[in-house]
């Protein structure tokens, strides 16, 4: 066991290395590229056995990943944002193949407008695909989640590919102290992949991913996939408990910070939840009974766990680092569907959108969200969803627009 300063990207590469992945189909995209460059170096220098192949697109990359997993080797891949969307047809497809492998997504906001910084619209576009999703908040979690993800994906009760998500820049390029477990200990936790009957061999002809005719066989396979994903809730708990027993670190499906005696609870995913956590700490110092819940698993959705944590709370504020245009925050809808109609459900569920394209969420904004939610609980009136944006930011954008307009008209005047 060693402790090193690692970026989230390096932590992901280490996770893949410790999992002894055989095969990495790859394609570069910021902010993920460091992962595949690192793995490429490790294969080239012989510290890892197997191969990395750069495909000509993410669509092909995910096809190759699924096909290799269907042949019976352990596969890893990584992408981001536009890459995830470019490969989306195959994200859905390989989940239907029921092939276990792990894909890291380094979240980056989607075009248009094009940008490099993070939010979660990319990963949420894969929400309904059948690929399971684990969301990380720090670099240690990235490494650990990769190992957990392989156990989960390869479990015969699950057999589904898993996406491990980390936020671009905030985790991908941020160095944090990370414990790198001993390879032997990892091998004991995560034995070599046993493909069982899922594989292509000359002696055992196999047809995979064949067409179906009609809704009945189609529904059969779709329901099977859904039930396997639900089963993954139970399997996840088992695997996470085994991980804790072996390595001492706990990665529950839902992370709870001072939720027990909280009146108002913030719910948030990903690395920005660490900002929420600090705000909760300050609020506690000031005597406000705030708490934080961070779902690590988004698919399968740990609805029961969230319900238990939120039962009897006065108010819940969901902070979405994503925006479903014309609807609002995706996590807000998910939480609402988990709570609606339960007699001990919190009476107030407020919605805030923030952190889009890497925009910061300040401590003051967190305090404000708690206070708005508390007022709503007092008055019994839930305010409309709020898009976090300050007057200063608006002024700044307007200023730039004005400058650009003046510059353009001056350009026009030149002879």
């Amino acid at each position: 066991m060693t402790r090193e300063l690692l970026t989230g990207n390096l932590a992901a590469a280490w996770g893949a290395r410790l999992a002894r992945v055989d095969y990495v189909p790859a394609f570069p995209i910021t902010p993920q590229t460091e992962i595949i460059e690192t793995l490429s170096d490790w294969y080239d220098s012989g510290v890892m056995a197997g191969r990395l192949v750069t495909l000509e697109s993410e669509h092909s990359m995910i096809t190759a990943a699924g096909a290799a997993a269907a042949t019976g080797v352990r596969v890893f891949s990584a992408t981001s944002s536009q890459g995830l969307l470019y490969g989306m047809e195959m994200i859905y497809t390989v989940a239907g193949w029921r092939v276990p492998f792990v894909l890291v997504n380094v979240s980056r906001a989607l075009a248009a407008p094009v940008t490099l910084e993070p939010d979660h619209n990319d990963i949420l576009a894969a929400r309904d695909s059948g690929m399971l999703q684990i969301h990380c908040a720090n670099c240690q979690e990235v490494l650990d989640s990769l190992l957990i993800a392989y156990r989960l994906a390869e479990d015969p009760r699950v057999r589904l590919p898993v996406i491990v998500n980390l936020d671009g820049f905030y985790l991908s390029f941020t160095r944090e102290p990370v414990i790198i477990p001993e390879p032997g200990a990892v091998d004991a936790f995560l034995p070599a992949f046993d493909a069982e009957s899922i594989r292509f061999r000359a002696s055992q002809p196999e047809s995979q991913a064949v067409a179906v005719l009609g809704g009945s066989p189609y529904s059969y396979f779709r329901y099977e996939t859904h039930l396997a994903a639900l089963e993954a809730l139970k399997v996840y708990d088992e695997v996470a408990a085994d991980f804790t027993a072996r390595f001492g670190r706990s990665h529950a499906a839902v992370e709870d910070y001072r939720c027990g005696d909280a009146e108002i609870v913030l719910v948030m995913m990903g690395s920005f939840a660490t900002k929420a956590r600090e705000a909760v700490e300050r609020l506690r110092d000031a005597g406000v009974a705030a708490g934080l819940l961070r779902p690590r698993l988004l698919r399968p959705f740990p609805a029961d766990r969230l319900r238990e944590y939120l039962a009897g709370k006065r108010g819940v504020a969901v902070i979405d680092q994503n925006l479903s245009m014309g609807k609002g925050g995706v996590l807000h809808s998910e939480i609402a569907s988990a709570l609606y109609g339960r007699k001990d459900a919190p009476p107030v569920l407020t919605s805030f959108i923030g952190g889009l394209g890497g925009r910061d969420i300040s401590a003051e904004e967190f305090y404000e969200m708690v206070s708005v939610t508390r007022e709503a609980a007092d008055s019994g009136t839930v305010p409309p969803p709020r898009l976090l944006y300050t007057r200063d930011e608006l002024r700044e954008v307007r200023k730039l627009q004005t400058i650009a307009r003046v510059e353009r008209s001056e350009l026009g005047k030149e002879p």
Binding site: P25, E56, A67, A68, T71, A202
Partner: protein
């Protein structure tokens, strides 16, 4: 390379490996070619398929294949082949499987995938030197969706999206040359109606390593509008009129494996198909027909020069 074991028609395999009772149309030229190809390739194969008519060959829970099959999507069958080949190589290398368990990886797609949506994936696979065989059955349109024009549709053909008086305004893309420009191990054109030529080429491709690509012109009664019983005749005419040159590319050299001499007028081939009926109606059709003939003549002038 070994001498071909297919010297005469009677040398062709007599036992047929591909099962019958598939949902393909009667007289499907693509299926005819696939039967012949499969007899030579055998069952130690995994077919990686892209969306198209042939996708329905393996329909849960049945398959006519004795070997393996993976359906991918329309654009990325070559990438599926890459994943399987790489995985098998990794397993062989670390001795997790024996050589006897190894498989030939065969991509099977239509022209829509091969000439268009999947071309980037094919180009990538060739450039990476992937050891695979690509079989394109070319029915000159998006057949499965009702024969709209594709990058393989010939000039003048009526399709579901070129119903005007002159048919398709574009020209059939030269996929053979596009593939050959990548300098793969082997490229060939074949047709089911010339089974000996086809068997020799598939046999040759099977013996080689690296990227090997074969385009089979696939007369399609449904899309080309003719009686199913004419598939073989139309196929023979495609070769005899010179509109479908049988050729192969090896080591930088293109060789024509059949020289149609004398060439029959292309009108004989075209008039058997409803999709070209408008060429035989009026003055405009006559003019187009002359143009099509002239293009074929120019092609063979350069070959024979």
């Amino acid at each position: 390379m070994k001498e071909s074991m297919y010297k005469r028609m009677k040398d062709l395999p007599s036992a047929h490996l591909l099962g019958t009772g598939t949902p393909m149309c009667a007289g499907c030229g693509g299926l005819e070619a696939l039967h012949e190809i499969y007899d030579v390739l055998g069952s130690r194969t995994v077919f990686v398929n892209a969306a198209g008519c042939m996708t329905l060959l393996a329909t849960y829970p049945f398959t006519p294949f004795r070997g393996s099959w993976l359906y991918t999507a329309m654009a990325s069958a070559p990438a599926g082949a890459q994943g399987i080949r790489d995985a098998l190589d990794i397993l062989l290398q670390r001795r997790s499987i024996t050589k006897e368990e190894d498989l030939d990886v065969v991509v099977l797609t239509g022209d829509g995938a091969a000439y268009g949506m999947g071309l980037s994936a094919t180009s990538g696979a060739i450039e990476r030197g992937l050891d695979f065989l690509y079989i394109c059955y070319d029915n000159e349109g998006y057949g499965n969706t009702g024969q709209q024009y594709s990058g393989a549709t010939p000039h003048g053909a009526r399709t579901a999206t070129s119903r005007g008086p002159s048919g398709f305004a574009g020209f059939k893309k030269d996929l053979f040359s596009i593939w050959a420009a990548h300098k793969p191990t082997y490229v060939a054109t074949v047709i089911g109606a010339e089974p000996l030529d086809l068997a020799r080429k598939v046999e040759k491709a099977k013996q080689l390593d690296g990227p090997r690509l074969i385009i089979a012109l696939a007369p399609c009664p449904t899309g080309w509008d003719y009686e199913p019983r004419h598939t073989a005749d139309i196929g023979k005419l495609a070769v005899q009129t010179g509109i479908w040159p049988l050729k192969e590319y090896v080591d930088g050299t293109v060789t024509h494996t059949r020289m149609p001499r004398p060439r029959r007028p292309v009108a004989e081939y075209l008039k058997m198909q409803g999709r070209f009926a408008h060429l035989f109606l009026d003055q405009r059709g006559k003019h187009m027909l002359a143009e099509i003939q002239a293009r074929i003549d120019r092609y063979w002038d350069t070959v024979e020069a």
